[in-house]
């Protein structure tokens, strides 16, 4: 589909390009994504482009995406927490347990690079527990975390019980997921007998 504007016949393909589309997908909440994207396209193509040209329109478009990230993500964060307070509990339990185990298992004696890897390995499942209720996201977080822990263990000359940290993080994640999905009825399928009205 193309709209467009005097000195920018390529702009219809450029707005939004694949990277911008991905950024908008990650940034804007699903229920507002269409309006948000439509507003940006309308302003860039019908106001900025005719007056200031393609480069300025693209710069403006990207500036809007970047500048929008902090307020939109902060809003998503507070909204998610107010709707799912149990995620705070899951993330807090993971962080406290993992930090205690890291202190107990010799992490303080390793190099900063290894410590950074282990910290990431702890932070990723904690963030997943806080931001997501999806088993798929938990699985990816667990896999990334495991890879980081394995890399840290291979690169490290010091001994630390990395497996214990990882194991506990995954156990807590699994408990958190089970807690969130407790007693939830299966999704209705079809309209046959027994399907909810």
């Amino acid at each position: 589909m193309s709209t467009v504007a005097p000195h920018g016949r390529h702009i219809a393909m450029a707005f939004p390009g694949p990277v911008a589309r991905l950024s908008l997908r990650l940034l804007a909440p699903a229920e507002r994504r269409e309006e948000f994207t439509g507003d940006l396209i309308e302003e860039a193509e019908s106001r900025i482009l005719p007056r200031h040209g393609r480069r300025a329109a693209l710069s403006w478009f990207w500036w809007q995406i970047v500048a929008s990230a902090p307020p939109v993500l902060a809003r998503r964060w507070t909204r998610g927490i107010s709707m799912n307070p149990q995620r705070w509990i899951v993330a807090a339990v993971i962080l406290v347990m993992c930090t205690l185990m890291a202190m107990d298992s010799g992490l303080l004696s390793v190099t900063p690079r290894i410590a950074a890897l282990v910290t990431l390995a702890i932070a990723i499942p904690a963030a997943a527990g806080l931001l997501s209720g999806s088993l798929g996201v938990y699985g990816i977080a667990a896999a990334v975390s495991a890879l980081l822990l394995i890399a840290a263990r291979i690169l490290s000359t010091a001994e630390f019980r990395w497996y214990a940290m990882g194991f506990m993080a995954f156990v807590v994640l699994a408990l958190g997921w089970a807690y969130e999905h407790r007693g939830r009825p299966p999704a209705p399928r079809g309209t046959g007998p027994g399907a909810p009205a």
């Binding site: 309006e35 948000f36 994207t37 439509g38 500048a67």
Partner: protein
């Protein structure tokens, strides 16, 4: 009045812009109105985040508009200020007026009477 019924600076600006725009208030026009009136750079994300918060509090309501070609088939979301929003704005502005009453330096808005 309960603490939650007061508005922050940016919430006041957004509510005033929605009221000024009347039936034409959607994300980008609100952003543009604030930029033009306050000469301050505002991101669309800040507008949407604020409108979302105001809607959650019941201060504004929204409806989806028609999709248009200039937006490549994407609909607009129009906003309007509801009665609780008007009251919250009145209360916030009234408290500001009370606070500045008697202070010569700020009694007149900046730029007034020049």
């Amino acid at each position: 009045m309960a603490k939650g019924k007061y508005l922050g600076d940016f919430e006041q600006l957004v509510l005033l812009a929605v009221m000024r725009l009347d039936d034409a208030a959607y994300g980008m026009t609100v952003r543009r109105e604030i930029e033009q009136q306050t000469e301050r750079n505002v991101s669309l994300g800040a507008i949407y985040a604020t409108l979302d918060r105001l809607e959650e509090k019941g201060f504004v309501s929204s409806r989806s508009g028609d999709a248009t070609a200039e937006r490549r088939g994407r609909a607009k979301r129009f906003f309007r200020v509801e009665a609780p929003g008007v009251r919250a704005l009145q209360n916030t502005l009234a408290s500001l007026d009370r606070m500045r009453r008697g202070l010569k330096e700020v009694e007149q808005p900046a730029g007034a009477g020049t």
